[in-house]
Structure formats: C-alpha cells, structure tokens
C-alpha cells in the first residue's frame, strides 16, 4: 500500500545571520557555504521526508519558508506565516541577543497559527569557543514556549539538522 503524502508549510524564523538559510540548505541539498548572504523576502524549498506516525510512516513534503530575519513584525510577515503547520525558531548560539528575540517570533507565529507546533534551535554549535548561550538557557526558552522540543545544531557540520526537522514533522502529525 502506498504511503499517504502530506504537504506541510514550515516557517523558519529568527534574527538575521542566525543560519536559517544554511539550515535549509543543509537539510535540502546537504550543502554548506560559510559566506553570509542576507535573505530578501522568502524562498520556499521542498523536501520529502518519511515521518513515523501511529505505528506506521507518513511521507511528508515539507515546504520550508526561509524568510528574511530581523525585521519588525508587520502584515507582510502575517501573509508569510499564514497556513503554516509548524515553525522552527532559530537563534545563533554565539549571539546572546538572538535568544531574546525568540519570544517575539513565537508570539508572531502563534497569533496567526495558534495550534501549530514549534521547535527551538540554537545553531552554530560547532563554534564552541564563541558560545554565548547555554543549553540551560535554550531549554528554558523552549520550556516557556509550550514545552517545545529544542536542539543545538550546526548547519556547517550537519549536527542534529535532520533530527530537528524530523521532530517538527512528528509534532505536526501529532497535532493534526
């Protein structure tokens, strides 16, 4: 029997230069580029994944909305967020201020999609010497946002990248 196919929109939110585009690039194309190119508007990428669900598996086309970070929330963003089944909130583990913005992004997202799940991600975990956010701080933010799952990741090495998208896929199926 063929697996059911679902298409789900997922938004990546976070301040500029936290690595949203790099996470998508690693997940979708398994590539990484150190050079920072700021994102304008939105770029939608598609990735198929097999997600365990209810003792079986579901094939999910995840439509990843990689959007410009660090802008004030406005109606423009509202149109970007509409219809999202889930979101990945990304901060840069080497810049403490990027963790502080997480609540704003979560609030913006839930104001449009109140029942959709989040995953909290601290990216650039490979830069150990420059780390400015602890696991405990990241966990506290995740706990305060509906006890969302949290990950430290590295788009550069690929650490936990697959896992975080998988986790969101499972949450999306669980909250359908």
């Amino acid at each position: 029997m063929e697996m059911p196919l679902l298409q789900k929109k997922v938004c990546l939110l976070g301040d500029f230069a936290v690595g949203k585009t790099s996470l998508v690039r690693r997940f979708v194309y398994d590539r990484f580029d150190d050079k920072y190119i700021s994102t304008i508007g939105v770029k939608v990428s598609r990735k198929s994944l097999i997600v365990p669900h209810d003792g079986g598996t579901v094939r999910m086309n995840m439509l990843l909305w990689d959007m410009a970070g660090g802008e004030d929330f406005s109606h423009v963003h509202a149109s970007y967020l509409r219809g999202a089944a889930g979101a990945i909130l990304v901060c840069d583990l080497t810049r403490a201020e990027t963790l502080e913005s997480m609540s704003r992004y979560a609030g913006d997202f839930w104001s449009i999609n109140p029942t959709s799940p989040l995953v909290i991600v601290g990216n650039k975990v490979d830069l150990k010497d420059m780390r400015a956010i602890t696991d405990a701080e990241l966990q506290a933010v995740a706990e305060s946002h509906a006890r969302s799952p949290w990950f430290t990741s590295s788009a550069k090495t690929g650490e936990h990248v697959e896992e975080l998208f998988q986790a969101l896929g499972q949450l999306i199926l669980a909250t359908r």
Binding site: Q7, K8, K9, F16, A17, Y36, I37, S38, I40, G41, V42, K43, V44, R46, L63, A68, G70, V76, S79, Y80, R82, G83, A84, A85, R95, E97
Partner: protein, 367 residues
C-alpha cells in the same frame, strides 16, 4: 452589463500584459482557468501551460492557504499579497516577484492572480540589507571584543590605572611623575617550604586565596594594587590619583590585611587549605609613579627609595605583624598606637632607620 464586466476583465488583463505582469485566473478551488505566458515562467515544476493545473502544485507558496483562498473567492475578501518571492536562476542571482491574489466579484468566485517582477528592487534591497547586517554583525563583534579587552585591562592592570588609560590612552608612554605616596608590601612567611610540599596547582590556589583577602583590604581603602611578585603583594596609596590622608589609608589597609588573614585562618581550620602568615611593611615618601618598560611591554610602577625602604621594612616583619617607617609614623601622628622596635640597617646606607610595629589606630574610622 456582461459587456461591461467583460470589458473590465479585458482591461485588467491588457494592463497586466502591457506592464509585463504575469496573471492567471482561477476558480475558487485554485484551478487555473486562463493565464499568460509570463505566469508559466514563475511557476515551479517545469509546467509549460498552467491551464487546468491546481495552482498550489506549481506555486508552493500557496500550499497551506488553499482554504483561506477558497473563502477569499466566495466571500470576496480583501486582496491577499505575498511579497518578494524568490526564484532561482542559472546565473545564481535569482529573480523576485510579488504575488497578489484578488477576488473578481463581478465574475462569481473567480480569483485573479498577479505576479509582478520586482527583481531590480529586491536586489537593491538585498545589497542594502547585506551591508546593514554586516555592519551590525561587525558592531556586535567590536562590542564583544571591547568587553573582553576592558575585562583584561581591568584585571591585568591596576584598576585606577586602567580607568585612566581608557579615558586617555595618550597617558600610556614611558616616564612618570614624582609624587608622595605610601607604599605597602605584604610578604608570605615560610612560603618556600610550604610550596615544596604541595602540588603546583594547590600552591597557586593557596596563594591566590590569601591574596584575595589582602587585595580586598587594599581595595577597601582605595589603594592601588601595583603587582604580585611571587608570594608578595605590592600596593600604593596616592597613586595614580590624589588621596589625601594616604598614610592613614595605607595603615588602615595594613591592619585590615592582618585582621582579614586571621579570620581567614580560622575559616581554614579543618579544611585542606594551608594557612599562610604575612608580614606587612609600610613607608611614606616620594616615588616616581608612571609607566616602566619598552614599547613591547609596559607596566605601571612606583619606583624610588621609598619603595625600596618599604620592601626592606616588610622583610623584617614577622607573620601577623605590621611594621612602619618613621615617615609613615610621623604622618599618622598620635592616632597611631605603635611600639618602637629600634633601628634597622639597610645596605649601602649610613643612617639607621627607626621602625615601629603598628598595633592600632585611634579615631581613624573603619570602612
């Protein structure tokens, strides 16, 4: 009436065509009824003709909002827009378009979908945002580097000196000024034998724990910590800034050091921390205060005979004792409770130096 409606639609589409705007008409289920060639070019998935296609299958940006658009079509809601959508191109630069979806109330539940090429504006925005973000990142890096440098400066250079250097970096040059100062030395007794019996890290831990007590007492009376040399601490009062009553401040600090060390020794009872005893020496007189060294390495120093004498007086002090010179004693006057200990002879000096054990201070107030 139908003619008017047809004309209206014809006009909208013609305007779109003239302005190179891509357009499509769909029903409320987003099935494409008609479109121009430009619309095909924005679609993903390599479809030559969108007619009959379900629009979200070729515009992934519409996935997830099918219900919203259905209600937009049947309720004739407000125009919905998704600005700055990116499409990759072979040259890597990419193209951008604004997607706009509006219900055509005159045509039942039809939706007009427009895609306007905004590549030029978006690329300009991208360049500006790139520069802005790079500057913000650079600013953050500089701010962090500045914090680290300030931390280093304030922990590796005497605090008062660091503060003056930050406010006026031109001060950092060899040379100094002659001024009166009270110089204090505190030196551990029997340190060498203790150090030989302990592992190196415990030696440093022990020394640092005692230095913490000594430094706290010096800072309490606004003294300047000049340096740590082996098992010895050197401090000065009235450098680099003016401190009226510097001899009294130095004497208060010296007594506070011994009181603090006695308390610390009590706290160490029953622990693994070995207890050190320090002799403290104090002298008041002229010093050269300034930056000593070469362009490769500077340090703040208080040089001169006053410093040498303070060092030698300290070397005569037993553990727990504070010895002061005649000059310091004269500055303290009757407030000082002292016991004269006779005179000491210093190398290459004819005159003998009277020294006193400082036992306490009267009406000096405490901090």
């Amino acid at each position: 009436m139908d003619d008017v409606k047809d004309f209206d639609l014809w006009l909208r589409l013609r305007t779109a065509r003239r302005q190179s705007i891509a357009y499509a008409l769909t029903d409320e289920h987003l099935t494409v009824l008609m479109c121009n060639q430009a619309m095909n070019e924005w679609a993903t998935g390599g479809v030559d003709d969108l007619v009959g296609q379900h629009l979200p299958d070729v515009f992934y940006e519409l996935v997830g909002i099918e219900d919203f658009l259905y209600h937009l079509a049947i309720n004739h809601g407000d125009t919905f827009a998704i600005p700055r959508i990116y499409r990759s191109t072979s040259d890597g630069q990419g193209r951008y378009f604004d997607l706009q979806i509006e219900p055509l109330a005159e045509f039942g539940t039809t939706l007009l979908v427009l895609a306007m090429d905004v590549t030029e504006q978006a690329l300009m925005e991208q360049r500006l945002r790139q520069r802005r973000n790079e500057l913000l990142l650079l600013q953050a890096q500089l701010s962090k580097a500045n914090e680290q440098l300030t931390y280093l400066l304030h922990h590796f250079v005497p605090q008062e000196v660091a503060r003056k250097l930050v406010s006026d970096p031109h001060l950092l040059r060899p040379g100094g000024e002659q001024r009166e100062a009270t110089v204090l030395f505190a030196d551990a007794r029997d340190f060498t034998s203790m150090a030989e019996s302990l592992p190196p890290d415990q030696v440093l831990d022990t020394l640092n724990a005692h230095f913490e007590v000594i430094a706290d007492a010096i800072r309490k009376y606004d003294g300047t910590l000049i340096e740590y040399v082996g098992d010895m601490v050197m401090a000065a009062f009235n450098v680099p800034d003016d401190q009226p009553g510097h001899a009294l401040l130095g004497a208060q600090a010296a007594l506070d050091i011994q009181r603090g060390l006695a308390r610390f020794a009590d706290e160490c009872l029953g622990s693994n921390m070995p207890v050190l005893h320090f002799g403290v020496g104090l002298n008041t007189g002229p010093v050269i205060a300034g930056y000593q060294g070469t362009r490769h390495l500077y340090k703040f120093a208080t040089l001169g005979d006053t410093t040498n004498v303070a060092f030698h007086i300290c070397s005569r002090a037993a553990g727990g004792q504070v010895l002061i010179s005649q000059h310091s004693m004269e500055r303290l006057g009757r407030r000082a409770h002292v016991t004269p200990l006779g005179t000491i002879h210093l190398k290459r000096r004819r005159a003998l130096l009277p020294i006193y054990e400082l036992l306490g201070l009267e009406d000096a107030g405490t901090r």
